[in-house]
C-alpha cells in the first residue's frame, strides 16, 4: 500500500504540471488546428521531463538539496538571481492562469461568473498550502486528477481508425494552410508546457518534503516513469479528442469549456462531470505547485527555512512569499485578462528560460562530491540528457524571435 501511495508525488506533479491550464488549452487548440501533426512534441517533452525530473529527484534523495538551492550554487549569485526573477515572474503568470482555470471549472458547474469565484479559489489554495499536509495534498489532488482519464475513454468511445490515427501522428507534416513558423511556435509551446520548470522545483522540493533518502531511489524512479508518461498520455488524449470532434467542425479552441466539449458530446453528462472534476483537480494541483514553487525558489535561493513539513511559524518568510504571490495572482486574475492568453505567454516564456534551470541539475547529477560515485549519471543517461540540453538551448534561443514573427501564433 505504501508503495502505491508513494507514487502520488509523481502523479500530482505530472497531472498538475502536464495537464494544467496551459496544457489543457494548448493540447486541445493544437489538436483542433494541426490535427495530430504535433503529437510527437508531447512524446519528446515526456522523455525530457522524465530524464531531468529523475535527476532532480535523485539529487534531492541523496543529498537533500532541491533544485533552486543548486541553481544558485552552480550559476552563482548573479545568474542565479536572474533565473530567480525570471522563474518567479513566469510562475506568477502560471499561478494566475491556474487560479482563473479553477474558477472557470467551478463556474461551469455553478454558472456563477468566474471572476466572482477567483477570490474564493485563492483563499482555498492558501488554506490547503497553510494547513493540509504534503502527503494528503499529493493524494487528494493526484487521485482526483485521474478523472482526466475520461479523455482517454472518450477517444476510445469515438472509436477512431487507430491505424489511421497512428500514421497521422507518426508521420507529421505541416498542414497546407499553416506556415512553418506557426507550426514551430506551437511545437515550442507544447514543449515548454511539458517541461515547465516549476515541475522540477516542485518535484525535487516535494522529495525533500516527503523525506526521501537513498533508500527511496526506486520510489523516485516509479514516480517519474509512471507519473510523467501518464501526464503525456492525458495530453495526447486531449489532443486526439479535439482532433476527432472539434477539427471536423472547424472549431478553434480558445476557452476551457471547449476542451471538455468532446467528452460531453461523446460520453454525456457523467463524462462531462468527471472531466470537470479532473480539470478542477489538475488546475488546482497546478495552483498548489506554482504557489509553493514561488516560496521554494525564493527560500532556496536565499537559504531560508522552507517547506510544509515545518510549522508555518518555523518558515514564516516562506509562507509570506506564498501569500504575496497568491495576492498578486489574484489581482492580475480579477483585472479581467484573458486567462488563456496569460497561460500561453507563461508557457512560451518558460520555454525561453528552460536551460537556466535544467543545466545545473545535469552538472550536479554528475558531481561525485554530492552524489557519491555510485549514484552519478550513467553514460547512456548522460547522452540522452546532453541531447536534451542542446534541444533546450536551441528552444530557448528561437522562442522569443518566433513569438515576434508569428505574433504569438495568431
Amino acid at each position: 500500500m505504501k508503495r502505491v501511495l508513494g507514487i502520488f508525488l509523481g502523479i500530482l506533479t505530472a497531472i498538475g504540471g502536464f495537464v494544467d491550464m496551459g496544457d489543457l488549452v494548448a493540447n486541445a487548440a493544437v489538436g483542433a488546428r494541426f490535427d495530430m501533426n504535433l503529437a510527437w512534441v508531447v512524446v519528446v517533452g515526456v522523455v525530457g521531463i522524465v530524464v531531468y525530473a529523475e535527476m532532480s529527484g535523485r539529487v534531492a534523495a541523496i543529498c537533500g538539496r532541491p533544485v533552486f538551492d543548486l541553481v544558485r550554487e552552480r550559476l552563482g549569485p548573479r545568474f542565479g538571481l536572474a533565473n530567480l526573477v525570471a522563474s518567479f515572474a513566469i510562475n506568477l503568470l502560471t499561478l494566475t492562469a491556474e487560479i482563473a482555470g479553477v474558477a472557470i471549472a467551478l463556474s461551469l458547474v455553478s454558472s456563477v461568473n468566474y471572476l466572482l469565484l477567483v477570490p474564493f479559489v485563492m483563499v482555498l489554495v492558501w488554506l490547503v498550502v497553510w494547513r493540509l499536509s504534503f502527503a494528503m495534498m499529493e493524494r487528494i489532488f493526484g487521485l482526483l486528477g485521474l478523472c482526466l482519464l475520461v479523455f482517454v475513454v472518450t477517444v476510445w468511445r469515438i472509436g477512431p481508425d487507430w491505424s489511421q490515427l497512428w500514421s497521422d501522428a507518426s508521420s507529421p507534416v505541416i498542414p497546407s494552410d499553416e506556415n512553418v513558423f506557426s507550426y514551430a511556435y506551437y511545437a515550442i509551446a507544447l514543449f515548454g508546457a511539458a517541461m515547465t520548470p516549476y515541475e522540477v522545483f516542485f518535484f525535487s522540493s516535494g522529495a525533500v518534503e516527503d523525506g526521501w533518502t537513498v533508500k527511496d531511489l526506486n520510489e523516485n524512479r516509479a514516480n517519474v516513469f509512471i507519473g510523467f508518461p501518464l501526464g503525456g498520455l492525458l495530453s495526447l488524449a486531449i489532443m486526439a479528442c479535439a482532433f476527432l470532434v472539434l477539427a471536423p467542425a472547424d472549431i478553434g479552441v480558445d476557452t476551457l469549456s471547449q476542451v471538455a466539449l468532446p467528452v460531453t458530446v461523446t460520453v454525456g453528462k457523467l463524462g462531462l462531470a468527471i472531466a470537470l472534476i479532473g480539470i478542477f483537480a489538475a488546475t488546482f494541483g497546478a495552483a498548489l505547485e506554482t504557489s509553493l514553487s514561488a516560496g521554494y525558489t525564493v527560500a532556496q535561493y536565499l537559504g531560508w527555512p522552507w517547506g510544509k513539513r515545518l510549522r508555518p511559524v518555523e518558515a514564516s518568510r516562506f509562507h509570506v512569499v506564498i501569500l504575496m504571490a497568491l495576492v498578486v495572482a489574484l489581482l492580475i486574475a480579477i483585472s479581467g485578462v484573458d486567462p488563456v492568453k496569460v497561460t500561453e505567454y507563461s508557457i512560451v516564456l518558460s520555454a525561453a528560460a528552460l536551460p537556466l534551470t535544467y543545466f545545473p541539475i545535469l552538472v550536479i547529477a554528475n558531481d561525485p562530491a554530492y552524489m557519491g560515485d555510485e549514484h552519478t549519471n550513467g553514460r547512456i543517461f548522460n547522452m540522452i540528457a546532453s541531447v536534451y540540453l542542446v534541444i533546450l538551448v536551441v528552444v530557448s534561443i528561437v522562442t522569443i524571435p518566433l513569438m515576434i514573427i508569428t505574433r504569438a501564433g495568431s
Binding site: G76, P77, S133, G303, W304, P305, P312, V313, R317
Partner: protein, 133 residues
C-alpha cells in the same frame, strides 16, 4: 605542497547552504572575510559573511550593500559582535552544507524571519501546529 584539505572558495564554499547547530537552514555563505597575518604574510579566512547586505555587496551593489549590512548589524541582539559575520571558529564543518555551532536566531539573516513570524504569520490561526493529516 601542503597536506591539509583543499577547498576552492567559489566551488566549495561560497553560496553553500548554512545550517545552525540544530540543523535548521539559516542562510547562505554570501561572502568570506579575509585577513592577512602581518608576520607571516599568509592570508586566512576569518569569517563567513551572510545576509542580504553582503549578498548585494557581492553582486556589485557595494555601497547599498555595505549600508544594509551595517543597518542589520545594529538592530540585532546576539552573542555575535556582528550578526552578519560568523567568525571562523564558530563553523563546525564545510561539506555539502556549511554547519555552524550557533543558533539561527543569532544571525542577521534571521531578523526578517523573526519579524514576519512575530508580526504576520504568528497571528494567523493554525500557524503553530503541524499540518493536518
Amino acid at each position: 605542497m601542503t597536506d591539509g584539505r583543499v577547498l576552492h572558495a567559489g566551488l566549495h564554499v561560497l553560496d553553500r547552504q548554512m545550517r545552525d547547530r540544530h540543523g535548521r537552514l539559516c542562510g547562505k555563505v554570501d561572502d568570506l572575510e579575509l585577513e592577512r597575518n602581518e608576520e607571516t604574510g599568509a592570508m586566512y579566512v576569518t569569517a563567513v559573511l551572510s545576509g542580504p547586505g553582503h549578498l548585494l555587496y557581492r553582486t556589485g551593489r557595494r555601497r547599498i550593500g555595505t549600508w544594509l549590512a551595517k543597518l542589520t548589524s545594529h538592530i540585532e541582539r546576539s552573542s555575535l559582535e556582528d550578526p552578519g559575520r560568523i567568525p571562523y571558529d564558530r563553523i563546525k564543518s564545510v561539506g555539502v552544507t556549511v554547519d555552524l555551532a550557533i543558533e539561527a536566531n543569532e544571525l542577521a539573516t534571521f531578523a526578517a524571519e523573526r519579524w514576519t513570524r512575530d508580526h504576520i504569520v504568528g497571528h494567523v490561526p493554525g500557524s503553530r501546529h503541524d499540518a493536518d493529516e
